[in-house]
């Protein structure tokens, strides 16, 4: 039974300001660090492509089932985000190790022929970010002090 009330002058002004603000709403990128490598606004894909991310995609289990290349793509192209962190976790689970000096990921190919407290000498594969491929490295010394 209260019925409508007439808006006072101040509320009319506020509504006018709100309407002008409505013309340039905040965008998701306004609240996020600059993403140098991936554009923020999703690229318009054909409607028959999945338009919404799977609901459980921020679960660790989801990342574990991604391919190695996908995990490396996420790690290198989604820098500074939760996705990078989850990809790193999944890679470690798949026995890859991140070398902070060489800024890349290594995986032991076989039991190293020399192991000391500081390093392991052996054959590794590593992810070559420039070539975007895995490459083999014989006789490589994996120094522990550079591990994160």
């Amino acid at each position: 039974p209260l019925g409508p009330i007439s808006l006072g002058q101040d509320k009319v002004y506020q509504l006018r300001m709100l309407e002008s603000a409505y013309k340039h709403m905040p965008e998701p990128s306004d609240s996020e660090k600059v993403r140098p490598y991936l554009q923020r606004t999703p690229y318009p894909t054909p409607p028959y492509h999945p338009q919404h991310s799977p609901s459980h995609m921020d679960s660790y289990d989801f990342y574990q089932r991604l391919s190695i290349e996908t995990l490396f793509f996420i790690f290198y192209y989604m820098e500074g985000t939760k996705a990078q962190y989850m990809a790193a976790k999944a890679l470690k689970k798949l026995s890859w190790r991140f070398h902070t000096k060489y800024m890349t990921w290594f995986q032991r190919l076989e039991e190293p022929n020399t192991i000391t407290d500081d390093y392991e000498m052996g054959t590794y594969i590593y992810f070559d970010y420039e070539k975007w491929a895995q490459r083999k490295k014989d006789g490589f010394t994996f120094e522990y002090r550079y591990l994160e």
Binding site: P28, S31, H52, D58, T100
Partner: protein
């Protein structure tokens, strides 16, 4: 002023908390992991 609140893009039955992926009061879907700035180890900031 009633509306179906399950259509606002929030997983209201999610066992996880909603705030940690809440992207905006004006967004129709939660933030994706690649949208969330995260305190990763410095070494991960390759670029």
């Amino acid at each position: 002023l009633g509306s179906d609140l399950t259509t606002l893009g929030l997983h209201l039955n999610s066992p996880e908390s909603l705030y940690s992926t809440f992207s905006s009061p004006f967004a129709d879907s939660p933030s994706r992991p690649q949208d969330i700035d995260y305190p990763v180890p410095q070494e991960y900031l390759i670029h």
